[in-house]
């Protein structure tokens, strides 16, 4: 679906993770890409205290006609992008529906409760099963591991953006990402971000083809 239209208007995307993972940056990059494509974009973000280890969620509305609420109505998420797997389940429990699509990083960020042994963090397979049951499409990507191989864990967000592109649910492209990224990056930093984006595209396409 790259003909420049939306499958739903407004199309609702939630990008979630834990403070410090770069999801605010990822949502702003995706938003800027869509504004360049001529869409109205609204992004609601919670940051501040939540930078310190708490859940951080950005809700994005994409529309060809107007701005919408920065808080997505419950049960109305079309796409969930999770930098942390447990956060995907939390988001689905509030905003999910049986037609929702999910793109999810596999790397857990343990809460202090888990670190201290007071709480248990479920196995990745259990999380995957839960998300499968709560969504129409569920793409698990080991983005942090791939980002570490590329030299910086923060690239996980860009890999997931590439994966969003790879699923074809939004009218975005590598070229559009390059334009937005080159507003703030150049040289090797820009190149590595482009490689991360391409990797995400490839991983999602492989999954879709499988």
């Amino acid at each position: 679906m790259k003909n420049g239209t939306l499958s739903k208007d407004p199309y609702n995307i939630i990008i979630t993770g834990v403070g410090g993972q770069g999801n605010v940056t990822a949502s702003r990059m995706l938003g800027s890409m869509l504004v360049r494509k001529g869409y109205f974009v609204t992004i609601g973000e919670t940051f501040g205290a939540s930078q310190r280890g708490g859940s951080v969620t950005s809700g994005m509305r994409v529309s060809s006609s107007s701005i919408w609420s920065p808080q997505i109505p419950q049960g109305h998420a079309d796409l969930v992008v999770a930098l942390e797997p447990i956060e995907a389940i939390k988001v689905l429990s509030k905003y999910g529906n049986k037609d929702a699509k999910v793109i999810c990083n596999t790397r857990p960020i343990y809460s202090v409760g888990v670190i201290s042994g007071e709480q248990k963090y479920p196995a990745v397979d259990e999380i995957k099963k839960a998300i499968d049951e709560l969504s129409l499409l569920n793409i698990f990507v080991n983005a942090t591991e791939r980002a570490l191989e590329m030299g910086n864990p923060i690239l996980a967000g860009v890999i997931l953006l590439g994966a969003v592109d790879g699923t074809g649910v939004l009218p975005i492209s590598r070229e559009c990402f390059r334009e937005v990224a080159s507003e703030t990056l150049s040289g090797e930093a820009l190149e590595v971000n482009l490689r991360a984006y391409e990797l995400g595209q490839t991983l999602a396409r492989e999954h879709m083809g499988a």
Partner: protein, 648 residues
């Protein structure tokens, strides 16, 4: 070049609400912007600082909100347009000056931008500062979305200059920290000339002194300006109506609540039954406009946050003119239709519309909802707030906590607003026991320190951040020293205003515009005030704890311990590890450790994990910042810290 100062009219960008406000200020041709950092307001001054040299504007992070407002007022007195920015608490701090400023009036347009935090997402209160506009009788505007944030900032600065009164622009988190499309308007040439005319007659506020004498006369001028503002508001383009000519229900709303209301109407598909009167100008109320819409319906729902502000004004108006508009049924805070605490959201408005209009709607099918809830219950650990990995505060509170325990007099810590507030939680070992406004920990400790005559021997320790020290702690420390109050003030000096994104403060060589600021030494100030001062590195646990205990045990009087170590998120530190950390599994005793996993159970740094399969502590190489502190707390010496060459 930053998109914020893009001179190409008509270009469209994704701007955060705060960037949109900053752009509006540039389009109005401001000369000066001042503020004190506070979520969700900080990005306005930050954005303007980045384009200051291009646009020939002066931008500063002031020592506190009152001084920020004074700095902005000076620009206005000299004929420039100016803004000052703050969060809701800040308007309280600045309100003493504002009360006087309203009386003297202003010259160049001056906008007070209060970014509020309904729901306290990043605050310790959800104060509704709209009441200042009514109390001080100055005009107030409230943008609802991004384009309007830009346009209304410019319009309000022009109105302020025309009426010679400061104007309040009220934003909220869901605008300031949300992002959306903004189409740019033209940029005027940067301002070049400032001059304060003061030789005119005593009561000529345009050429004479700026004073607040002649109270009653000045007050009558204030009310005249408010009346003019009300007239201008009647035709302001920011007050709009959407919906049927004769709606079954009229929603009156402002700010982000407008978007929630629109969303609720769309979700419930009641576009032909419900109309929305959105007010961008909320004090004084544009009465003719509101009356016109009240005539069109019998039922009115007011959607706003946090308190009943618009609702009260609309009801008073309706009570004055029942013969013109008829009798209305009102829904809002008083009827319980809309909660009077917390921020609003589409669900709250959907709930109100369901009950008023008698509509059935559920957001999720019961099957999906039950399944999701089961999965959350089974798999979703709660994320409690924690200090970052490598945060100096964790180390500082470890030492403060231990010193208080060793002192053995049931001592406690009084704090205030900052990341270190989290010391009320397990991440700070539950050490913090009072928490109020900026600097209040020191004032409260000063009071506790004088209760010895009533048999109180508990040790009161105050903590404050370095930025807070300058903002509001200095007078409290003067008070404690002057009255020989028995306190220890611990200044958690992490080299910036870390909580809000690392803005500079007077203790640093840099200001909002970069290098060249004069730094002021906290230790020297404390010494000059007359306190004993020690400086330690909180990462040196033994020395810190020993110093604190010594201070507690020595005689009476105020003492200051400065714990100096940069924030783990500071630009100088980011991703540069001091030490390479490693756990020697052959030495780690795991649960057999005398303290039963002291490191992961009590110290709880996010960079150090409990590997439940191997029953050993384990480092998370992505999260660990290599501060080296955990190697000092391991009783078995199983965690090693090897000095690394620092990398930028």
């Amino acid at each position: 070049m930053s998109n914020l100062a893009d001179p190409r009219e008509g270009n469209q960008y994704l701007f955060m609400g705060n960037e949109a406000i900053a752009r509006g200020a540039l389009e109005a041709g401001i000369g000066v912007a001042a503020g004190y950092p506070g979520t969700p307001s900080s990005e306005i001054v930050e954005s303007l600082a980045r384009v200051a040299s291009d646009r020939n504007i002066y931008v500063e992070w002031s020592v506190n909100e009152k001084v920020a407002m004074e700095v902005a007022a000076a620009a206005s007195f000299a004929g420039l347009r100016s803004i000052c920015t703050m969060k809701q608490n800040g308007l309280n701090v600045a309100s003493d000056f504002l009360l006087h400023l309203v009386g003297s009036g202003i010259r160049g347009g001056m906008l007070i931008i209060a970014c509020e935090d309904p729901g306290g997402l990043s605050s310790q209160n959800e104060g509704d500062s709209r009441f200042f506009a009514r109390m001080l009788e100055i005009p107030m505007v409230e943008p609802a979305y991004f384009q309007e944030a830009k346009d209304l900032t410019k319009w309000a600065l022009e109105l302020s200059e025309e009426l010679k009164t400061p104007v309040i622009l009220r934003s909220v988190t869901r605008l300031s920290h949300a992002s959306g499309n903004v189409r740019l308007g033209p940029l005027p040439p940067p301002p070049t000339k400032a001059r304060f005319e003061h030789r005119g007659p005593l009561l000529d506020f345009m050429t004479g002194p700026m004073i607040t004498g002649a109270v009653v006369y000045a007050h009558s001028l204030v009310q005249g300006k408010a009346a003019k503002a009300a007239e201008r508001f009647e035709s302001a383009p920011f007050n709009t109506y959407q919906g049927p000519e004769k709606p079954e229900l009229l929603i009156i709303t402002s700010s982000s609540c407008y978007l929630y209301s629109r969303e609720a109407i769309r979700v419930l598909e009641v576009e032909d039954r419900v109309g929305i009167l959105k007010l961008g100008t909320t004090w004084p109320l544009p009465q003719k406009l509101v009356k016109k819409h009240l005539r069109s319906t019998d039922k009115v729902l007011v959607v706003e946050e946090v308190l009943s502000f618009l609702e009260d004004q609309v009801k008073v108006l309706a009570a004055e003119v029942p013969d013109e508009i008829g009798i209305k049924k009102f829904f809002g805070k008083k009827s319980g239709s809309i909660p009077s605490t917390n921020e609003q959201n589409p669900e709250n408005v959907i709930g109100a519309l369901k009950s008023i209009l008698g509509i059935e709607y559920t957001a999720m099918t019961p099957e999906y909802s039950a399944l999701a809830e089961a999965h959350v219950a089974a798999s979703s650990p709660h994320r409690e707030l924690t200090f970052c990995a490598g945060c100096p505060h964790r180390a500082s509170f470890w030492s403060i906590h231990n010193a208080l325990e060793l002192d053995g007099r049931d001592g406690f810590v009084c704090g205030d607003v900052g990341c270190y507030t989290m010391a009320i939680l397990p991440t700070g070992f539950g050490t913090l026991k009072t928490c109020h406004s900026m600097g209040s920990g020191t004032g409260i400790a000063s009071g506790f320190g004088k209760l010895g005559q009533f048999g109180m021997d508990q040790k009161a320790v105050a903590v404050c951040g370095d930025s807070t020290f300058f903002h509001a702690v200095m007078p409290a420390l003067v008070n404690a020293v002057h009255h020989k109050s028995d306190i220890i003030l611990v200044v958690l000096d992490n080299g910036g205003t870390a909580m809000t994104g690392f803005q500079p403060h007077p203790g640093l060589h840099i200001g909002a515009l970069g290098s060249g600021a004069q730094n002021i030494d906290i230790a020297k100030i404390c010494e000059a005030i007359g306190a004993e001062v020690e400086i330690r590195d909180p990462f040196d646990l033994a020395a810190t704890q020993e110093t604190l205990l010594d201070m507690m045990r020595r005689g009476r009087g105020a003492k200051v311990l400065i714990l100096r170590q940069a924030c783990a998120l500071s630009p100088e530190k980011k991703r540069a590890k001091l030490f390479e950390m490693a756990v020697d599994e052959s030495l780690c005793l795991g649960e057999q450790c005398g303290c039963n996993r002291l490191c992961t159970r009590i110290f709880r740094c996010p960079g150090l994990l409990w590997n439940s399969e191997r029953r050993k502590a384990k480092l998370d190489e992505v999260i660990c910042t290599g501060c080296g502190v955990c190697s000092q707390i391991c009783p078995a010496g199983a965690i090693s810290a090897t000095k690394k060459n620092r990398q930028a």
